[in-house]
């Protein structure tokens, strides 16, 4: 398949504006600005069927339409580059290798929704990305793509990088906004949604990096063309970061709906040392696990939901037969315990309890009733305040259900069967 999102990344100095312009960069933005009305742009994006790549899969065109309809001023356009989902590094590739695609996507979005100011909320752990983005932004200013009265139009847009400082929760859009306001990154009550009351309670569009990287393509080649790529109800190219026990970990661009099996075995080269695949988390740390029998599932939002898990960030984490599933689940729930902001009870307390139970089981001190307790704690966590807590229990609950025998082996054997001592 033709590389779309990754079309530039192999080029030398792909992060510079010269290389980007040579590859046809900023043409889409100029087309939007000069040949299309903001409404046309929104329509085109709606037609494309693009759904947000941050995890929730909300239709991007619809989000823009809501923001465009709000009359409060000023409006803000924010790129969510707080890529914190474990084993997700797709946005990093765009940020570091094709920053101008992101900036162009933001420009088009800001034009379509009437936003005056833009911020890229970049996770603090990407200092290299920060330098690249800041350089790219200053290049774009020099070429007149940013600033006042861009290219002689009456459209003005200023863009800045806002650095996070190590908080996964800030990937949640309202927590991200709180963080931009200088506060603890804790999610807000919704509604109101950010499109109406976001940063400083003004209309704020929050889009993921990968989502925005799609925008120039849609404008340049048309929404109709885009809608025919991949799964019909969830079209487009998708970046799949694959890691764990595969021979060739990396980011793979494939159409939405590519089978998980194909991604792991054809693109990522299969399992290291040709071991047996044991389990896959198909959509980041907050997705439910899939067993080796379940990997023929197409990788898109609806298919994975049907399979009882989710696409999330599309990060595929592969475990082989030598890996302990209890230990893997424990490590992931520890992550969520560390990242829980502490606002709501189920997430704050549930993650800690699950960590403690799993630590006991992994340490050979579990009892059979623990498994029942784990599942009921998972159920309580479903009632968390935001998506973090609602999904945090997935790696634990799903592994208890699908790898119960392995949990029982820990409990009955009084030790982790994967540890030598």
């Amino acid at each position: 398949m033709e590389k779309l999102l990754l079309r530039n990344v192999e080029k030398e100095n792909s992060h510079t504006i010269e290389v980007y312009l040579k590859g046809g960069g900023y043409r889409a933005f100029q087309k939007a600005l000069k040949e299309m009305s903001p409404e046309d742009v929104v329509e085109e994006v709606k037609l494309s069927g693009l759904r947000g790549r941050g995890g929730a899969g909300f239709p991007t065109g619809l989000k823009w339409e809501f923001a465009a309809a709000d009359i409060k001023e000023p409006k803000f356009f924010v790129c969510n580059a707080d890529e914190g989902e474990p084993c997700t590094f797709k946005d990093r590739v765009i940020i570091e290798k094709d920053p101008h695609a992101l900036i162009e996507g933001m420009l088009i979005g800001a034009y379509a929704t009437g936003c005056r100011y833009g911020y890229i909320y970049l996770r603090g752990e990407y200092p290299i990305g920060r330098k690249i983005l800041e350089r790219a932004i200053s290049e774009a200013y020099q070429k007149g793509f940013l600033g006042e009265n861009i290219l002689g139009s009456d459209f003005s847009f200023d863009l800045y990088v806002h650095s996070g400082a190590g908080a996964y929760i800030c990937g949640e859009e309202t927590a991200l906004i709180e963080s931009m306001e200088g506060k603890r990154g804790e999610p807000r009550i919704k509604p109101p949604f950010p499109v109406n009351a976001g940063y400083l309670w003004k209309p704020t569009v929050v889009n993921n990096v990968e989502t925005l990287a799609n925008i120039p393509l849609i404008i340049e080649r048309g929404g109709k063309w885009y809608s025919q790529i991949g799964s019909p109800d969830c079209p487009g190219p998708k970046l799949f970061p694959v890691s764990g026990k595969v021979k060739r970990p990396g980011v793979y661009e494939l159409p939405m709906g590519t089978k998980l099996e194909e991604i792991i075995f054809e693109h990522a080269g299969g399992i290291v040392k040709d071991r047996k695949l044991k389990a896959v988390f198909p959509g980041g740390a907050s997705s439910s696990v899939l067993t080796s029998e379940e990997i023929s599932v197409p990788m898109d939002f609806p298919s994975l939901a049907k399979a009882g898990t989710m696409l999330g960030s599309g990060a595929i984490m592969v475990l082989d037969e030598t890996d302990c599933i209890v230990n893997a689940a424990l490590r992931l729930i520890k992550f969520f315990r560390h990242e829980s902001c502490g606002k709501c009870t189920p997430c704050r307390e549930g993650t800690d309890w699950l960590v403690r139970i799993l630590e006991r089981i992994e340490g050979g001190r579990g009892v059979e009733e623990d498994l029942e307790v784990v599942l009921s704690v998972c159920e309580t966590m479903e009632n968390s305040f935001c998506g973090l807590g609602m999904a945090a229990h997935n790696p634990v609950g799903s592994t208890v259900r699908k790898f119960k025998e392995e949990y029982l082996a820990h409990i009955k054997g009084g030790k982790c069967p994967f540890r030598s001592s």
Partner: protein, 160 residues
Amino acid sequence: MTYDEFREEVRKLKEEGKYPSLKSYTLPALWIAEKNFPCIDHEVMRIISSELGVPLVEVEEAARFYAMFHTERKGKYVIRVCTNLSCMLNGSYSLLEELERLLGVKVGETTKDGLFTLEEYECMGLCDGAPAITVNEERFLKVKKEELPTILKKFGWKGD
């Protein structure tokens, strides 16, 4: 950096006009402190509070919320070892143990000479290079245990 210099930096930050609201400069100001002081202490927070008109406790809340900010003294170099799933599956815990041994500190501690702080860290998005570690802003990918002394020496480690 002295406190007066820091105050001056925060004032300059405000002049950039990047945000329509002063409170939004809290994180950028904390970043300046993180990079220029051994830790973000209460005096730093007082300066931020008075310059930005943010309540004192809100500055402390922010400083204590984000994992990359140090409110306790840290070393000149912060070594972050990712131990999240992909790195763990690829042996990051043995790197962590080896670093503890080489530096003679436990996770979370700073070496006596104040050079290194060793941290177990969450995913830094370097999973295609698992196991990954970073030293301040520099990253090291697919790290093998044997490479650790060389990496440390780059930053002035005196051991062998």
